[in-house]
Symmetry: C2
Subunit: 314 residues, 2 copies
């Protein structure tokens, strides 16, 4: 595993030779997660190591000729199963003290896509989102209807208490006392050897959010977008701001309609947000990666066929 | 009231003098609603008269100096209360035989927006969407959480049986027997004398849809978008196709990033859809109106400060 290094948009590859595959992942943008925790396993170095592990997981799929869609699902599944991230098992709790999970996935080859929102009993929301995409006539299913569909297609369900971990209960209790808010998201974007793009995003939403609130993560065009004609995008940050600007779709639209290169399109979309709102990861058909953000940190990593392999937080 | 006339995109006003206010409304795109009904009050002439009435309602607000946001909410409220349209009282029933309602609204001045989805007990979903926009920190609330919020902000609720009308029960029964599907939406877009744009959309979704399915109507960027820098848009048709293309946002993005005029942007966004998917209404800051569709019919009407007043179906 290579050493970690800081990746800023300015240092993205600009070599004439395009990468034949590329992957970027994120674990949320905002403030340092370790600011609020001093537990073993939650230091900055632990987060960097966790990012490297999921990057390796996705890299093996893509370098082996696997599909971008499989890579972005597998990476996000692994992050959903790691309690460090605000998605799946590690989801923050709503104002009511329960977890409500959202996720979406999109295939840039066909514009096929799927999303689920406000689900409480599905172990890996990203896999249910993929089932919505591939095995339903719909694009977005929410709540009990989505959970009934999970049973129909045999996607694994768990008791809602699976997500109410001791750590999240402590964070929730402090939020009640201090009025704190915390958010976070995980996501992945990939280009595969066949030239196909895909994007995925999953979240537990915002700590102490209202019951029934849906953020940008399950919404195609807001938190997630992929189109082989332009790019694949996964966003993280204050979801409402990404919805009102259609940020994920906006990056693709700036490339497709405005003729911008990936990096200019991604940077302009983030510049349209308010300072502190968040960031995004994006990859285009040439394997170029952009990861702009306007928060203190964004947990992120990128790898490609030319040997790039780096993770960063600040 | 002027006589009805056919409005096609080619006949939109192109005079040098801009309209100081403008309004467009739609009642869905697809096949003729009267194809499946021969009841008194549901003839084509009844639909045209209903479109003229709501156009007059919105016109009075805008000509009197009222806000675009008030005009698009009031027009859609009136359509939600008219059993002819697939929204509010006239919503089609889901596969489970119940009504699940979706709506959204957006203010082009501030990009403020709100949406609600899969609600079953709110008389006017568009007014709850406006309350989400103005009185919650969120942009999209779904299901029971949205209904609890309706109580918090005193938006009128009704028993779920309010929407299970004899007419919809007959349509639902026939759908069970024949495997028919029907969809429809209502929407409005407006420019006011202050130069502000707004858009609104409301629907009962697709007849026999899966429980928990969310279409494009409550989704900012998919079914509804408004941005004073470009245009206001409301879409109608096969919702999944509008979500995967971010159609409402795409019209705005083609204007903002591609430099297209309203009509070219709107036509290109509809040309991107599959034939038969639907259509949209859009208005820009010059009061130009575009209403392209690729279905057999789209129920629609437009009025402006220069005396335009016309409704059409085919």
């Amino acid at each position: 595993m290579s050493e970690t290094e800081t990746i800023s948009p300015e240092q993205s590859p600009r070599a004439a030779t395009a990468a034949t595959w590329a992957l970027a992942v994120h674990g949320g943008a905002g403030n340092l997660q370790s600011d609020t925790e001093h537990e073993p396993g939650y230091a900055e170095s632990d987060y960097l190591a966790a990012l490297e592990r999921v990057l390796q997981t996705g890299l093996r799929i893509l370098a082996g000729g696997g599909a971008a869609l499989d890579a972005v699902e597998t990476v996000v599944r692994a992050m959903e199963d790691d309690e460090r991230w605000n998605a799946g098992r590690g989801a923050v709790l709503t104002r009511a003290g329960t977890a409500e999970l959202d996720a979406s996935i999109m295939d840039g080859r066909s514009l096929a896509c799927g999303g689920v929102a406000t689900i409480t009993t599905v172990k890996n929301p990203i896999s249910l989102a993929r089932a919505v995409m591939e095995r339903s006539p719909h694009v977005l299913l929410v709540g009990a209807g989505a959970e009934k569909f999970a049973d129909d297609v045999r996607v694994e369900r768990v008791d809602a208490s699976h997500f109410v971990t001791p750590r999240q209960q402590r964070l929730w209790q402090r939020a009640q006392n201090l009025g704190e808010s915390e958010h976070g998201t995980v996501g992945a974007v990939a280009l595969d050897l066949q030239g196909n793009l895909a994007a995925s995003t999953s979240t537990g939403g915002t700590l102490s959010k209202l019951f029934g609130r849906v953020g940008d993560s399950p919404l195609i065009g807001a938190g997630t977008y992929a189109d082989n004609r332009s790019c694949a995008v996964s966003c993280t940050g204050k979801g409402e701001e990404f919805i009102r600007r259609g940020t994920a779709h906006d990056v693709a639209a700036r490339m497709r309609h405005g003729g911008h290169a990936l990096e200019a399109a991604a940077s302009a979309a983030v510049a349209d947000l308010r300072p502190g709102d968040g960031g995004l990861i994006a990859v285009d058909h040439l394997g170029r990666v952009a990861m702009p953000f306007n928060t203190a940190v964004m947990y992120r990593g990128a790898a490609d066929s030319r040997g790039r392999f780096a993770v960063a937080i600040r």
